[in-house]
Structures are given as C-alpha cells and as structure tokens.
C-alpha cells in the first residue's frame, strides 16, 4: 500500500512535468500577444513595452520563460495580467465552490448511474433495458448549455425561483441551517445538469459489468438460497461490478471541470470554470497556464484517490 502510493507519486511527478510543458506551450506557441494593450498601439512608449516584456520575462528564450513561469507558479508570485493579483490566490478563492460542485455532481451521477445501470442489467434484453439505454444516450447527446439556459430562464424569469450564484441575496436567514440549505439548493441544479453525462456513461459501463457478474455461479447459488432479487442485485452482483466505476471516478473530472465552464457561466456560479472563461475573454495568459496546470494536477490527485477507494471497496484488489 505505502509502496504503491510512493510509486504513484513518483509517476505523478513525471506526469506533472509533461503537464506543465503542455500548459506552457499551449499559451506560448499560439500567435497573438499577451499585451493588455494592442501590440501596435502608438500611445504606448517603447520603454513601457520593454518593461512589460521584462516583467513577464518575454525577452528571454523559451526554455527560460518556461522556467520562470513554473518558478513563479510554485512560489505564488505568478500574477494575473488583468488585475495584477497572484493567480494562485485567485484560483484558491474559487476552489471550495468548484470542489463542492464537482463532488455533488459525482455523488448524483453515481447514485442515478447505479440505479439506471442496475435496472438495465436486471431487464437486459427487455424493453426496460432499451428505454434505459435510450435515456443514457439522450443524456450524453443533450447540449449542456442549451438545457441549462432553458431551465435557468424558465425558473428565474418564469417562476422567480432563486437559483443563480451560491446563495440567495437580500434574505436574512434565521440560522445557519437555513443558510446552509439555501447554499445546497443553489448547488443542486447546476450539479444535476453537470451530472447528466456521468449518469449516462456510468450506467452504460455498470450495465456491461453487471451482466457479466449476473452469469457467475455465486449468483445462481444466491438465487437457489431463495434470496430476494433486489438483495442479489445490489448486495452480490453490484458489489462485484462497481469497482471499475469507482476506479474511473478520477477520469470523470476532466469532462466535469471542462463542462462546468459553460454551466458555471450561465448559473453565475463562482467556480474555476467561470474563472477560466473570464481568463479566456481577457486573454489572461498567466491565468490560463496556471488554471490548466492546476486542474490537471487536481485530476491526477483524483485518480490516485479513486484507485485507493477502489481498493477499499474491493478486498480482491491488491495495490502493488
């Protein structure tokens, strides 16, 4: 276990290095200038331009620029071009909201994905299975921005339901519980929409592994013992089928955080996705490098955690 974690961490360092190079080159090799003013703006003196280049190390060769950006990123002195604040502190501000949104979304997709997947496997080959598959593909094919927009406009403009942001404004909550419930309410809708894709892919995956499990001898034994079908499905078959899903949670994160860009923007939800969209609009180069890097690092961490979780769920897994 310990040696597994150590080796995984060593591999993660290698991956982080590749990730840092990719995030650096995305921004550096693309044409266009990182200047906050137009490149040929005659009102900006050559001296100001030279100072700017010096400040962001743009006068150095590429490999030195890379070294400077990475040093500044890790020492926390990499600054946003937009407001000159350290990018790390701007990202950390958004981290709690992002983690809350993504965790809620993962919980929702696991719960409903499991339900849909188990039901499809139980009725494999019957109409319930076909309906389940259709629902799953409908969820994947639904353009997230479209359904989000319709839901938001309908609820906010049509019914005046407060769903934007992280909590309702202009209301004095009598106690912490009410305020907490309000925050949860604001989390629920964006998390559900974000979870649709996950529900679909997890149900499809689980359906396949469940159908395999249901052919095993121990299921026949369980049936001959006269156990109830639900008990057999959820206690015997699911327990033996869910490990790949748990191990795959980490790999869900890139799609979630990417998809959150659109959904957070529409919901005015202060997560990292919206921060990213704002950085794209402002062509905030340091912020874009840092965001892509931090998110990729979070995904690495998520992968490690989901591997450990899958070992906890299934005692047959030995982390070697």
């Amino acid at each position: 276990m310990i040696s597994f974690i150590i080796r995984r961490l060593a591999l993660s360092v290698v991956l982080l290095f590749i990730i840092s190079i990719i995030s650096f080159f995305i921004v550096t090799l693309t044409p266009g200038s990182p200047y906050p003013w137009g490149e040929l703006n005659p009102k900006i003196s050559a001296e100001v331009k030279a100072n700017f280049r010096k400040k962001f190390h743009l006068d150095r060769p590429l490999h030195e620029q890379y070294a400077f950006i990475m040093r500044d990123l890790f020492t926390g002195s990499l600054r946003s071009i937009k407001d000159d604040r350290p990018v790390i502190s701007r990202i950390l501000e958004r981290l709690p909201a992002t983690v809350a949104l993504n965790l809620t979304s993962i919980v929702i997709s696991l719960a409903f994905g499991t339900l849909l997947g188990v039901t499809a496997a139980r009725y494999s080959g019957h109409w319930q299975d076909a309906v389940g598959s259709f629902i799953a593909f409908l969820f994947i094919a639904l353009p997230g921005f479209w359904i989000t927009y319709v839901v938001v406009i309908a609820l906010v403009k049509g019914f005046g339901v407060p769903i934007l942001g992280t909590h309702s404004y202009g209301i004095d909550f009598p106690n912490a519980l009410a305020s907490g419930l309000d925050t949860l309410w604001h989390l629920l809708l964006p998390a559900t929409i974000l979870a649709l894709g996950g529900i679909a892919s997890q149900s499809r995956y689980l359906r396949a592994t469940m159908i395999e499990s249901l052919r095993e001898d121990y299921i026949r034994t369980a049936r001959s013992k006269g156990l109830s079908e639900d008990f057999i499905l959820y206690k015997h078959a699911l327990r033996n089928s869910i490990r790949p899903i748990i191990a795959g949670i980490g790999m869900v994160l890139p799609a979630l955080i990417g998809g959150a860009v659109v959904i957070e923007t529409i919901f005015a939800y202060p997560g990292m996705g919206r921060l990213g969209y704002e950085a794209v609009l402002e062509r905030d180069y340091p912020m874009l490098v840092a965001l892509n890097f931090v998110v990729a690092a979070l995904v690495l961490l998520g992968n490690l955690i989901s591997d450990l979780l899958s070992a906890a769920v299934d005692p047959r897994v030995r982390l070697e």
């Binding site: 290698v14 991956l15 590749i18 990730i19 990719i22 995030s23 995305i26 921004v27 693309t30 044409p31 266009g32 076909a130 598959s133 259709f134 593909f137 409908l138 994947i140 094919a141 639904l142 353009p143 997230g144 921005f145 479209w146 359904i147 927009y149 319709v150 406009i153 403009k157 049509g158 790999m251 994160l253 890139p254 799609a255 955080i257 990417g258 998809g259 860009v261 659109v262 923007t265 996705g273 990213g276 969209y277 794209v280 609009l281 062509r283 874009l288 965001l291 892509n292 998110v295 990729a296 690092a297 995904v299 690495l300 992968n303």
Partner: protein, 292 residues
C-alpha cells in the same frame, strides 16, 4: 458450364452488418444521419452555385424581426429578421463538417501514436503513453476553449484543435489492439518472412483493428458537434454572420421568453443529430463485439 454448389459462408464484415441492422436503433439513426447529410450536402451545393433556398441565411430585414414560425418562415425569424430555417440548413453543414474533419484529425494522430506505441513497445511506448496520460488530465472543453480563443476562432482552427485534443482515446485503443495482434501467428510469420514494420502495421494489423477504430470514429463525431456548439454558444465558435446551430441559440438567448423558436429548433437539431450518431455507434460496437 457445370455449376458448382455454392457453400454459403458469412464474412466477418457481413456478420457485423447483419448484427448491426438487427439492432432496433440502427435503422432510425442511420436514416436520420443520412437525412442530415443530404441537407448539409444540398445546402452546400446550392450556395456554392449561387442559389439561396429558401432564403439567404444572412439577409437581414429589421421589419421582419422575431416573427414566429409561419408558412413564409418555417422556423420564424431572428432578432435581425434573418430566416431561421435557412440558417438551420447552413448550420447543418457546419456541424457535420466539424464532426467529420475533427474525427479525421483525431483518428490520424490517434492511430499513428497508438500504432507506434503498440508495435514498437519499450521506451517509445513509455514516452508516448505517459504523454497520453498527461493529456488526459486536462479539462477537455476548457483546453479546447483556451486554444481556440488564443488562435482566433475559425472553422479550420476549431476542427484542428478539437481533433488535437481528442485523439487520446483512439491512441489507447489502437495501442491495446496492437499489443494483442502483435502476438498473433500471422504477424509473427510476417516478421519471420522479413516484411518491413510499415507493411506489417498497415497490411496485417490495422485491418484487423478496423472495427473498434470505426466505432470510436462514429462516437467521436457527436462529441465534436457538441463541442463546436458549446464554443459557438460562448462566442468562440465559427464566427458570425456564418450560421451554426450553436450561435443561433447564442443569438437567441436574450429573446428566449419572447422567441422560443430561436432556441428550440437548433437545440433539437443538435440533440437529434448527436443522439443518432451515438445510437448508431453503440449499435456498431455491439455488433462488432459479440461473436456468432
């Protein structure tokens, strides 16, 4: 001439096709895909020869703005008085182009990387696959958005970037197919006969991995269509006045309560087109996977 009795055998391809058409989702989804392809092709041919049917998609007329669907304008008009139906037709050709070209780019890179890694193994495999692992950690849509925004949104940039970001799954799949097929008798004998690596890869291994690659290709098309629509919605897709399904929705978002037709038709088009590709791809996967 004497006729010899014909022994009816089924080739692997015809078996996959037979199983594919037996899937209830196959016929409707293929029909819908052909329908969209005909629309896209027809619109492209008409506009290339200088015809506009039913209207010019970019013809503005403020006297006709935000009209609901009617016999003159089947899907109504938008905030600039443009005919939504004409814009939808042009949007179809953009969406299908994006889907197809992005998949070709991603297949090209994915097959090359996966084949090299899987065939040669060793340190080459290690370097390539660790890079794939690293790339898989990036938030897909945000990565596409970043690069497209920095490069400047154009049709070419969008398809290339979507392709550049989405080849990792194909590379992993092709690599694992190669690892299995590399050990088969016919590949070993080809190697013993002294055939070159290029010949073995393209003639002996790739054709046997064709089915799973085709499945990823079909499933990759709707991914690209949805990503382009999302980019268009955020203002970083194919640029106006060129109509795309995504930017018809984006243009209409301010008028959602008054002009539902600006939202409903393009949204349904994206949904139905991608759903058909997903269902067809899944039916193909099931047909190719099961034996017998």
């Amino acid at each position: 001439m004497q006729s010899t009795p014909i022994l009816k055998t089924e080739t692997p391809t015809s078996r996959v096709l037979r199983r594919f058409w037996a899937n209830p989702a196959a016929i409707p989804s293929v029909v819908i895909i052909i329908f969209f392809a005909l629309i896209a092709g027809g619109t492209f041919l008409l506009s290339a020869t200088g015809h506009d049917w039913p209207c010019n998609p970019n013809q503005t007329n403020l006297e006709l703005k935000l009209l609901p669907p009617s016999p003159e304008h089947w899907m109504g008009t938008d905030n600039l008085g443009r005919d939504v139906f004409s814009r939808m037709l042009h949007g179809a050709s953009i969406s299908l182009t994006v889907g197809l070209v992005a998949v070709v780019v991603s297949l090209g890179i994915g097959i090359t990387v996966g084949a090299i890694a899987g065939y040669f193994g060793g340190i080459t495999d290690q370097i390539l696959m660790r890079s794939v692992d690293a790339l898989l950690c990036f938030p897909t849509f945000f990565l596409i958005l970043t690069v497209v925004a920095l490069l400047g949104p154009s049709l070419l940039n969008i398809v290339v970037v979507i392709g550049l970001v989405s080849w990792t799954g194909t590379a992993r799949l092709v690599r694992s197919e190669f690892l299995t097929l590399r050990e088969t008798e016919y590949v070993k004998s080809a190697r013993v006969l002294g055939q070159r690596a290029w010949h073995i890869i393209t003639r002996h291994i790739l054709p046997n991995a064709a089915a799973p690659i085709l499945v990823t290709a079909v499933l990759g098309i709707p991914d690209a269509i949805l990503q382009e629509a999302g980019l268009s919605f955020l203002g970083f897709g194919v640029q106006p006045p060129q109509a795309t399904w995504g930017n018809i929705i984006a243009d209409g978002k301010t008028y959602l309560l008054d002009a539902w037709w600006l939202n409903l038709f393009p949204g349904l088009a994206i949904l139905i087109a991608s759903l058909s590709f997903y269902l067809a791809g899944d039916a193909l996967r099931e047909a190719a996977e099961s034996r017998g």
